[in-house]
């Protein structure tokens, strides 16, 4: 029996070895550049004929965003009824990449045709051979891809070696929610840049220390929520809570602080470029936020050390124990609802307003980079699984539509259009939502995203780790520049592994 088992094992081993070595060297064939008309059929006027072309799209939007997107796509399908139909499946961004990887390797028939994903992943997907260029097919289908119209940073993320592999659709970042009623009551002005923000926060802290700061909101002291009360003098008043455990800080605020002070995220060769004095200055701004020094712009702390807690602004904002908080633009509607209920007797949601992060971390507002906001952009990319030229053309028609015709609906969810002509259009500007809040979320041209790099995951995660460490109380005594350098060294090491 033992001998038999040994024999079986040996056979198994041999089989596996043979299988593996036989396939040694076999790779996914490089995508051949397109030429000719392929399977395109043209009608008498020379337009491409689409006969019930079905396109499968995988989208990284979920929840309410997904519902809005479904509506937009339904309108497209209606417009192109009988010609092009887009079927969309939504996956969370944590699952999408793994799913894509295994599907493309093992289950090609189920692979999607186009992807609605974050533009910054484009370079990595290209590196894995998943993408197909779109310029050629825009030329064939007649749909427009007016590259100069798009915000440069967003466009850059989908262009590799001069060729575009998709079309940018939108961009978003974290935004600020502001208790305008507290500002008004205490005679404080709405800050428009970092210096003013520090001033307002310092003033609020001083007023509170002198027992002169009026606040209102949820409380356990017996006041009604719309009743004005004095802020407690027991602890210092911190007007703008942030924490290293917060997602907003990770994804957007850390980067924004860096770029507004002149830092660069990615160098031209794809390597991280955030190990610089400018970046250190930017991060120092955030560190001073929690641990002010003698030389910092703010004299009193703008946030307490929340440590690893996340969503730290929510509770104080509702209680009136802070004036500003970070939030995602898609949650703005919910914030309004909350305040409609909370301060229903006195204006409801009119007591809060919103602003973008532009200028909020810049120590020198005269520099052109001071207005930048680091965000994330969505783009629709074409996958290399598409072999039919007709389908590729249909995909370009759809991309065009999404970039140019979903404007204000999509913007209300916090995703500002990447095409500048859209945000300048009448339709866009005359929508009441625009005046109410969308306009405060900044110009898309101010939005920057991470430039394309195939080392995106390393560049991103090590920078985030550096920000986290810099804001943590346990690392208070370490120099920001030192932290940046050690994270940078580790990052380079890992990248060189795959060089």
């Amino acid at each position: 029996m033992k001998k038999l088992l040994a024999l079986v094992l040996c056979v198994l081993f041999a089989m596996t070895a043979m299988l593996v070595t036989a396939c040694e060297g076999e790779q996914t064939p490089a995508v051949t550049p397109p030429e000719g008309e392929g399977d395109i059929v043209r009608d008498a006027d020379g337009n491409v004929v689409y006969d019930n072309v079905e396109i499968k799209m995988w989208s990284v939007t979920t929840g309410d965003d997904a519902n809005t997107q479904d509506d937009i796509i339904a309108r497209f399908n209606e417009t192109y009824k009988g010609m092009i139909k887009v079927n969309v499946e939504h996956y969370s961004r944590y699952d999408l990449e793994t799913l894509l990887s295994s599907t493309i390797q093992f289950d090609k028939e189920k692979a999607p045709d186009i992807l609605f994903n974050h533009g910054s992943r484009t370079a990595e997907y290209f590196d894995r051979g998943w993408l197909r260029e779109v310029d050629y097919f825009f030329g064939k289908s007649g749909a427009t891809f007016d590259k100069p119209d798009f915000v440069p940073s967003l466009l850059e993320s989908v262009v590799i070696d001069g060729k575009a592999y998709g079309m940018p659709i939108d961009c978003h970042s974290a935004i600020m929610c502001v208790r305008s009623d507290i500002l008004e009551k205490n005679g404080l002005s709405m800050p428009t840049n970092y210096a003013e923000l520090c001033a307002v926060c310092d003033q609020a802290a001083a007023l509170a220390a002198a027992n002169n700061l009026w606040i209102r909101g949820e409380n356990s002291d017996g006041y009604k929520s719309d009743e004005w009360r004095k802020a407690s003098t027991a602890q210092p008043y911190t007007a703008f809570p942030i924490s290293f455990g917060d997602m907003w800080v990770h994804e957007f605020v850390g980067y924004s602080a860096m770029v507004q002070n002149g830092g660069e995220i990615v160098a031209s060769d794809g390597m991280p470029a955030w190990n610089s004095a400018a970046t250190a200055n930017g991060i120092q701004v955030l560190k001073n936020w929690i641990f002010p020094t003698a030389t910092s712009q703010n004299k009193s702390a703008m946030s307490i050390d929340y440590g690893s807690s996340y969503d730290v602004g929510d509770a104080p904002f509702n209680k009136g124990e802070c004036i500003f908080k970070l939030q995602g633009p898609w949650a703005w509607q919910k914030e309004k609802q909350t305040f409609d209920l909370l301060l229903s007797k006195d204006g409801g949601s009119a007591n809060i307003t919103t602003r973008s992060l532009t200028f909020m971390f810049a120590t020198d507002t005269s520099k052109p980079c001071a207005s930048k906001i680091k965000g994330e952009g969505h783009a629709i990319t074409l996958l290399s699984t598409v072999t039919s030229y007709t389908k590729a053309c249909a995909a370009t028609v759809f991309m065009d539509y999404m970039a140019n015709f979903s404007g204000i609906e999509w913007a209300k969810r916090g995703h500002l259009p990447a095409a500048r002509s859209v945000s300048a259009a009448n339709e866009y500007l005359s929508d009441p939502a625009y005046n109410e809040y969308v306009k405060y979320w900044g110009e898309p041209k101010d939005y920057v995203v991470v430039a394309p790099t195939k080392y995106y995951s390393y560049v991103d995660s090590y920078f985030k780790s550096a920000v986290q460490k810099s804001l943590a109380g346990s690392y208070k005594d370490r120099n920001v520049a030192d932290i940046l350098k050690s994270e940078y060294d580790d990052c380079i090491d890992y990248i060189n592994l795959y060089a």
Binding site: T21, E24, T98, G473, D493
Partner: protein, 326 residues
């Protein structure tokens, strides 16, 4: 022409014997068959494949290796790059963690099992209550724990008036991870030790009584040797289990600024595999093999130490000498 006649008796005997052995092996194959198949498919095959992968190089394009038969992956692991340093640190962290948690994971259930063995009123309820935490899903309990111990909005800090950042500072975070592991993990060991305690021969306790043992001596000389097989089983499985710790650290330390120093070995391997990018497969496989070898090494040490030692001949020799002197 060679005669093709056979001796009828020998032939019949051969046939009967073959039929008999087929009949006997039928039940073996029917019952063992499915298990053997799964064992080969899900254990042996991945193991062999993993070893092969650790000797291969991969690119981002394909799941199949671009070259097989290279020691590069292992060389990198023993070099001075960040990946090697991180991996070695994580192994050391994992070993330290295991050394700290494993004794707790065995002593606490042992104490509880001894208490339950006294069969106090309501012991059946407590027996179930001790086991129940282990059946809850890891992620759900981890998230609840994070909310409970949140340094600003958590229930624990507000009730006990503390300001400890349970998940932000490294020491407190390790404490939470250890607490979580013990809370979830004692159930299994507890059941095994409970069963072991019940099988200790009661008359041995009476003999120990008559011999004059106090309660502690009885524990030392009767209880502990009586549950030795169960103790070794739990030690073995608990040690291997905690050398593979991943989930608890992933959930509870996710917001810790010093996360990279807290990552365990499996965590590092997982890191390489996020996004399912094939180019990391070679390194991940090599890491896995190295970790496996280390665990096997520890397990072998444990087996050798716990082996039943043979008597030797010391006393017999002494006796013979005594006999002569008398």
């Amino acid at each position: 022409m060679k005669s093709d006649k056979v001796d009828v008796f020998a032939y019949a005997e051969r046939r009967e014997r073959r039929k008999n052995s087929l009949r006997k092996s039928f039940s073996v194959t029917t019952f063992l068959g499915p298990y053997t198949a799964s064992f080969l498919l899900f254990f042996v095959f991945p193991l062999v494949l993993g070893v092969i992968m650790s000797f291969s190089k991969f690119t981002a394009q394909s799941f199949l290796p671009s070259s097989v038969g290279t020691l590069d992956n292992y060389k990198i692991l023993f070099s001075d790059t960040a990946i090697a340093r991180d991996f070695r640190n994580s192994i050391w962290t994992t070993i330290k963690f295991s050394l700290a948690i494993v004794p707790l994971s065995i002593l606490i259930p042992l104490g509880l099992a001894l208490l339950i063995n006294l069969k106090p009123p309501g012991y059946k309820f407590f027996r179930a209550a001790i086991y129940v935490p282990g059946i809850f899903p890891l992620t759900a309990t981890g998230l609840i724990l994070m909310r409970m111990f949140d340094s600003h909005y958590g229930f624990v800090n507000s009730v006990f008036d503390l300001t400890v950042d349970w998940f932000g500072s490294t020491g407190a975070c390790w404490f939470m991870i250890g607490f979580f592991c013990v809370w979830c993990g004692i159930g299994g060991n507890f059941i095994i030790l409970c069963a072991g305690l019940e099988n200790v021969d009661k008359t041995l306790f009476e003999a120990a009584d008559v011999d004059g043992c106090s309660a502690w001596k009885k524990f030392l000389h009767v209880t502990l040797p009586g549950i030795k097989p169960q103790l070794f089983l739990t030690l073995f499985t608990t040690l291997i289990g905690y050398m593979n710790v991943y989930g608890q650290i992933y959930i509870l330390a996710s917001n810790n600024p010093d996360l990279s120093s807290m990552k365990s070995a499996v965590y590092r391997i997982q890191d390489l595999l996020t996004g399912f990018n094939p180019r990391a497969f070679g390194y991940a496989a090599a890491m896995g093999i190295v970790l496996g070898v280390i665990i096997i090494f520890i397990a072998v040490i444990q087996l050798v130490v716990s082996k039943d030692k043979k008597g030797g001949g010391k006393r017999v020799a002494q006796f013979k000498q005594w006999k002569e002197n008398v």
